[in-house]
């Protein structure tokens, strides 16, 4: 296996950190400040994609900075799993950067500088986590992400965001302090290192099965960003954040960081072999299946569009983990590709929710009757993204679901096949009515909803800077369905 030593991983992380500094520096010049965001997003994506050929060819890119503790270094290693996460989050930052500018300006939001700076640091943290070569480095970036996004969740600074952000912090920090710290301490105690290994850090470590299972569940609960029930309640609470935050962070970067960490633990800390021997794979599969179904049912009952999307996210994240813990090569490919598929579709859906809000100040599904005529591009994109969530060809969601279904058959676990099918039906049940309401129900005349700031139907129109990114991401979700090779190749590279 080819190992390349390069400073590129650090550059990729540093770009957005430097951008955050520049954003703070240009706080009085909005245009310059927002261009910095956009340029940094493009540069970051280019740096990351320039590393892709080596990783696609089965190699890794490594750089070690210094030793933290004996057996623990501050080090980065770009491998296939990290590349999946880094590619998707940096690519979507470009779309989100454009979208943010349109969204924040059309709503005349306050504290835009703080917003853009925190956004940029979040991206550094996400990519830093993706490229981390060991648990210590990973956890540093994981915590940075929790803390920086706190300011974004609390952005509105009103009563709701005060309580929402509190729950956000209590869940994420509480879980990591309780479980993650225990997991790390036990791992370090048992193995003397925290490095990720291709066949698992615990591979060949003599320890009782019970203890290893405890360590595993510490990680599973500690990485609460993955939102496996019952560690999920922070995610709906985080919806008090402005929509671009919900879109990029709570549909892509933050939640995928959680899922990514769980996948790291499954593949490179516990190792596929050990997961299988201890029966942890199946145990986790049941746990996430419960999450998949329950969260879908919650989503059905939510009228607030963002809340519905949030519960849908909880459910879809567990798809990814389900794929991983089934432990068969096909299922793993399905789970990993779903990282990209879900990201593209879900960011589109959140962008649409934000677009609807910017254009009309409406938040609830029941208020959307006939809005499709006013916002045709937005609602068309919403429809395409819904198809992606349901898993209809030719979207990326179809590819991942195909592999997931195939994988569960391959694993001989038909229960999970049933779970996937039932949840598909549920997905359709909570997404398609939105499109139906928007396009086929008659627009209500007169003022809609209860807010005084609701915009009159005749004044509702698309906002270009908001609509263009969401059309692009919707198209990308189809492109992924037609050309899934990049992610498929990476996903196959994860399983030894």
């Amino acid at each position: 296996m080819e190992v390349v030593h390069s400073i590129k991983p650090i550059l990729a992380i540093a770009v957005s950190l430097l951008a955050a500094g520049a954003i703070l520096g240009f706080r009085d010049r909005a245009n310059l400040r927002d261009s910095v965001s956009l340029i940094a997003a493009v540069v970051k994506f280019l740096i990351i994609i320039s590393m892709a050929p080596i990783v696609l060819g089965g190699g890794t890119i490594e750089i070690t900075l210094f030793e933290i503790l004996p057996g623990v270094e501050f080090a980065f290693r770009v491998d296939a799993l990290g590349m999946v996460f880094a590619t998707i989050s940096s690519m979507l930052w470009i779309a989100a950067a454009v979208y943010c500018i349109g969204y924040m300006r059309s709503l005349k939001e306050h504290a835009q500088t703080r917003f853009f700076a925190a956004f940029a640091v979040s991206l550094s943290a996400a990519v830093g986590g993706a490229f981390a070569a060991n648990l210590f480095t990973l956890v540093i970036f994981y915590e940075v992400l929790s803390l920086v996004t706190y300011s974004l969740v609390y952005h509105r600074e009103n009563e709701d965001s005060w309580h929402g952000s509190r729950r956000y912090l209590v869940y994420l920090v509480g879980a990591s302090k309780t479980f993650l710290l225990a997991g790390l301490a036990l791992t370090y105690q048992l193995t003397g290192t925290l490095d990720f290994m291709p066949s698992g850090l615990f591979d060949g470590v003599a320890a009782s099965p019970l203890l290893l299972s405890v360590v595993y569940f510490c990680y599973l609960a500690g990485f609460a960003k993955a939102a496996i029930m019952p560690m999920h309640a922070w995610l709906p609470a985080a919806m008090v954040a402005p929509t671009p935050v919900s879109a990029l962070l709570h549909a892509v970067a933050v939640v995928k960081m959680g899922v990514f960490c769980v996948l790291r633990v499954v593949f490179h800390v516990m190792g596929v072999g050990l997961m299988d021997d201890l029966g942890l794979g199946i145990a986790t599969a049941y746990l996430v299946s419960f999450t998949i179904i329950t969260a879908s049912i919650y989503a059905l009952t939510r009228d607030d569009l963002k809340a519905r999307l949030a519960y849908s996210t909880i459910s879809q994240l567990s798809y990814i983990i389900l794929g991983a813990v089934l432990l068969t090569p096909t299922a793993i490919v399905g789970g990993v590709v779903h990282i990209a598929a879900h990201a593209l579709s879900k960011i589109t859906l959140f962008f649409c929710a934000g677009s609807i809000y910017c254009a009309s100040r409406r938040k609830n599904v029941s208020e959307l009757a006939g809005i499709g005529r006013r916002l045709p591009w937005t609602m068309a994109a919403f429809f395409i993204a819904s198809l992606g969530m349901i898993g209809v060809p030719p979207t990326g969601g179809f590819i991942s679901k195909w592999y997931l279904v195939l994988g569960s058959v391959e694993a001989g676990e038909l229960v999970f096949l049933a779970v996937l099918l039932v949840s598909t039906v549920l997905n359709a049940a909570y997404f398609l009515p939105v499109t139906y309401t928007a396009f086929f129900e008659k627009e209500k005349t007169g003022p809609v909803g209860d807010g005084p700031d609701k915009i009159h139907p005749d004044d509702i129109r698309e906002i270009p800077l908001v609509t263009i990114p969401l059309v692009v991401t919707a198209l990308l979700s189809v492109v992924l369905g037609i050309f899934p090779d990049y992610f498929l190749t990476l996903a196959r590279g994860i399983v030894p």
């Binding site: 933290i68 503790l69 540093i140 803390l147 609390y154 209590v170 302090k177 710290l181 301490a185």
Partner: protein
């Protein structure tokens, strides 16, 4: 370098400064003179650290002179990897204390600075002494300036707090003295610490001496249930007093365990270890809950301190390398982080004259620099990855899991509490809408205050990301300590 009495110089330079202060007139001149001596003392510890040989556990920079030969008392100094770190910490906090007292102390400035400098000399003496008698002299003498600092420049209830502090520590010291005398007579009528370490004492003797030492050190640490003097002392003490108390004085108890209990009384240490491990997790959890219940900012930090010191004693009595290294590192971290938190309490109290957490809100908007720096130390006290305390806590917990899984699990549960009370405090104080506090105009951190804070920020991240140099300093000494406890103990 070997012949130059650098330790004596470091120890007595502040006291010399105190002597010079007697001749200085005018508050401004007094402040500057004190600062010059304190900074000079700190600068001296830097070559000390650089010249320190990390490959040997032997005492370095030795100085020996006969004092009372008839009784086996000598003036004997030296540092190993454990004590050299605390010499550095003491000197660092020393000048920071002078800086933060610049405006906070406006009456009897000269007397205050003299107390502070004398205090510093005595603390440095404790860490360098290699003669038990000399150690005891420094240890006891420390009480006097600390008593004055709290009793003269403290808050409204200062006399009560100072008296309580004095009584608790004095009671402990009496037992300490008895223990020392037992060792003296059993160990061949010498006070030489290195010689006393070589002796083996019968288990019965060890046990009694251990109990005496335990009470003496437990008061200092402080360990639950002997901690009740601490919140009173902290709340009443002026900022510099709190910093010295939290940053250095609390370390004395843990240092006592390291220097005397573990190496001299290994069998008793092993026998009592389960008891101390339990007391440690009780301190972590009970201190955490007490901190959670506080409405007074300074009390919150004080109880947090009790909880954090629980991790130190926990690590010490795991008897494995990770645990003890973690404990020593955590002692250093605690000095930095808790010292800084008291500093921040002092800064805001100077501006608002209230310590009620509920009186605050939105400091991030009013005084943003203060808010951001407070966030750094709050995160550090919470042991967030990337900060100093995380490294220490990870090592201590690893060690604890190695020693006893159940104790480790309970300690982890206690660690969560720190996140709870610190986040509650920070959210209430720094976030949310800005509230007018007593109708006062607040001003942000000024250059003088910044000078005191920045070095502490540096150490938060330095130890957080690159603790290697610190761990290298203590490693060999800790390994030797473990040999001393293992070989004779088992």
């Amino acid at each position: 370098m070997t012949d130059f009495p650098i330790l004596s110089l470091i120890i007595f330079l502040p006291a010399g400064g105190a002597g010079v202060l007697l001749l200085v007139r005018g508050d401004a001149a007094v402040r500057w003179t004190a600062l010059v001596f304190a900074v000079a003392d700190f600068l001296l510890t830097i070559p000390l650290l650089l010249a320190f040989d990390t490959t040997t556990y032997a005492m370095q920079f030795r100085e020996t002179a006969a004092w009372v030969p008839a009784l086996g008392i000598s003036y004997s100094l030296g540092v190993d990897g454990i004590s050299v770190l605390f010499v550095f910490l003491t000197a660092l906090l020393g000048w920071i204390c002078v800086v933060v007292s610049w405006r906070a102390i406006d009456s009897k400035v000269k007397e205050f600075m003299i107390s502070l400098l004398v205090m510093q000399s005595l603390m440095l003496g404790v860490f360098c002494a290699l003669d038990l008698f000399l150690f005891y002299v420094f240890w006891e003498a420390m009480l006097i300036p600390m008593y004055l600092i709290i009793g003269v420049w403290g808050g409204d209830n200062r006399v009560y707090a100072a008296f309580k502090f004095f009584l608790y520590t004095l009671a402990g010291s009496m037992l300490f003295l008895v223990g020392i005398l037992v060792l003296y007579f059993q160990g061949g009528e010498t006070f030489d610490i290195l010689v006393l370490m070589e002796q083996t004492y019968p288990f019965e003797i060890q046990a009694w001496v251990f109990v005496a030492f335990l009470i003496a050190f437990a008061v200092k640490v402080p360990m639950v249930p002997l901690h009740t003097w601490l919140p009173d002392a902290h709340v009443q003490a002026p900022t510099a007093g709190s910093i010295v108390l939290a940053g250095v004085l609390l370390k004395m108890g843990a240092y006592g365990f390291l220097r005397f209990s573990l190496p001299m009384l290994p069998e008793a240490s092993h026998a009592f270890a389960p008891f101390i491990l339990v007391l440690s997790v009780v301190a972590i959890i009970y201190g955490g809950f007490l901190a959670l219940a506080q409405d007074d900012l300074k009390k919150l930090v004080a109880y947090a301190s009790v909880s954090h010191m629980g991790f130190v004693t926990l690590g010490l009595f795991t008897f494995n390398a990770k645990g003890v290294e973690g404990a020593v590192l955590q002692m250093f971290n605690h000095g930095i982080t808790t010292g800084a938190l008291f500093l921040f309490v002092g800064l805001i109290y100077e501006r608002t004259h209230t310590r009620r957490i509920a009186d605050y809100g939105g400091l991030m908007k009013v005084v943003p620099v203060y808010g951001v720096l407070l966030a750094v130390f709050t995160l550090s006290a919470m042991a967030v990855p990337g900060t100093n305390t995380f490294v220490g806590e990870l090592l201590v917990l690893s060690g604890a899991f190695g020693a006893n899984k159940a104790i480790g699990a309970v300690a982890v549960a206690g660690a969560v509490l720190s996140a709870a009370y610190l986040l509650r405090m920070f959210r209430q104080m720094a976030l949310g809408p800005a509230v007018p506090i007593g109708g006062r105009q607040l001003w942000d951190v000024n250059a003088r205050e910044m000078a005191a804070i920045l070095p502490l920020v540096v150490f938060v991240f330095w130890v957080g990301f690159y603790p290697k140099p610190f761990l290298e300093i203590i490693r060999v000494s800790v390994e030797h300590l473990l040999v001393q406890t293992q070989v004779q103990g088992r």
